[in-house]
Amino acid sequence: MMRSNRLFDDEGNELYSGFGTISREALDATVDGRAYIETPTGFERLSRPEGDTEDEIRRLVDTATRLGGYVPEVNVSVDTTEGEEVSATIHFPPREVVPQKVDLSSVLEIMQSIHKNALRGQNRHGWIDTTVGTFERNVREGIALAEKLYGGRLPVNIIPSAVKGACEETAFIFAGCIPQGSIHRPSVAVISEQHPMEVEERYHQHEHTIWQEPLNQFIRDFVVENLDAATNSGCLQGTWKDIHVFMPMPQPIGGILSGENDALTEFCCYCREVAERTGRDIKVTIHWQDSIEEVEQ
């Protein structure tokens, strides 16, 4: 039978609905023995704490449990004429919210299409034509849309990201985005200190930033830094099992070496090491612009 946390007065009027913060009036009624609970046989008075100290504590804990709360502390004060007085703090934890089940395979499909969309616009030489800013915005807005579709933050870790949440089992690495610690991202720095009456608000315009430059020029640095960040992530050591690396370029033809491919190879090797050391299966999937590659671990 479902337990009811509702409290009533002696006329059957509801004092406490059973959810959320309990009112002072309802607590006083409970302590004074004026509160009732509903049972299959009718209303039953919540017994007023009386008897010796131990019994009183037990009854208070019992009351708290019945109401869905818990007792983190019990205060016992001694009055030389009246004996011991017992009071307790009852905490009511927030109701457990059952998280919405997120289908990670459909999230992955969305991420693939976000990445593909962000890379659209290729010139006749096969080079990506998009700018750093456009690529960044497309990925960011795509992730925001995915979060909106799934009703909140996705149960995945994303690199690069400013979010410092819990480590999840799935990681998405958008290797073509501006790395998190880069000077090319908005940032805050302490400049100086001044007397408040002398402070002037100032603006100045940057002469040149990379956001309107072609992404092609920065891909190598971005990929290397983002994969470095993933390598150094504590989540790789702790939880990641399913890692998806989105590379902003076509799969290279075998034998061609470049900085970004070296970095990817090193990252995959490191994942293998972590898998061996921890005994955890780690799957790495690389989403190239033109194909998908699963790396053997």
Binding site: E136, V188, V190, Q194, P196, V199, E201, H206, T209, W211
Partner: protein, 300 residues
Amino acid sequence: MNNAIVLELRNPSDEVHTFRFGEGARIGRLPSNGNIVHNAETITFSVPAQSSRWVAFSSTGELVTPHSIDDIQATTTDRIIADEGNTTYVPLPAHWVTANLEDARDAFIHACRSSIQGVHENHTLGIGGYALMATFSRLRSERTGQCGVYSPNALGFEYDNNTDSLHNHLLNGNLVMDEAYGSGFDSSDSIRLELSNTTDRNIRLCMAPGTAFEQRDRHAQNQQNVVLRDEVEVTILPGESATITAHGMCANRTGANPDGHLLATPFRLMNASNFMGREGREQSDLWARTDTTDPHRGRM
């Protein structure tokens, strides 16, 4: 007084970036003594594309530099009620901010008239309001790229419901405005009002700091709107007329010097006394609130 900590908010991106400091968030460490400064209340700053902005907080975490109206976060809506305290905006087509200036002015006036309810404009009575909202909405749109008609609160103004306000007396016919003229700014006589009490009782007029006036004539739309620096309180006897001169401040840095007829508006710049509280810097601090000092200025 303890020193303030000065921060640089750097935005190298190609879009406006909003920096948010939550209440109690760590702002930084004072270089001189290493004390950590925590933010006193949640605050946001808007920094234009490819720009940096310096802001300062006191050692107790209160903002020292002016908070620009562009920093006020606004949510979208489909209509605005003038006296509701919401920070909202009705989105408009983005290309309006780059349109020919005359076209943009007309478009924003038209959009304000259709989007904002509760402004009782009557030029015969000397009451305006839409031109002020249109100019401020257009300027904010041009500076931030977020094009729309903004609610008074989102522009740093509030609807003045005071029964003794100029707007209220004009609207109720207690006072007749024979003349309202703006000439120059940041001087003790830059606003001149000639008012008549047409009733048979004393009329107490109380104009709060920040009370806003707009330019009446179309050819003067490039001129600054004007706000009152100090409170004005007078009583006009039955049947009498009074000429009031007041200290007017320029509300739009990029506008031309005021030299024309004004209309009273129902709007008042919020916390005007605070924004103009540093002696000798009243005008520059006011501009930092209403117009910002950034390189991305709107067109007047």
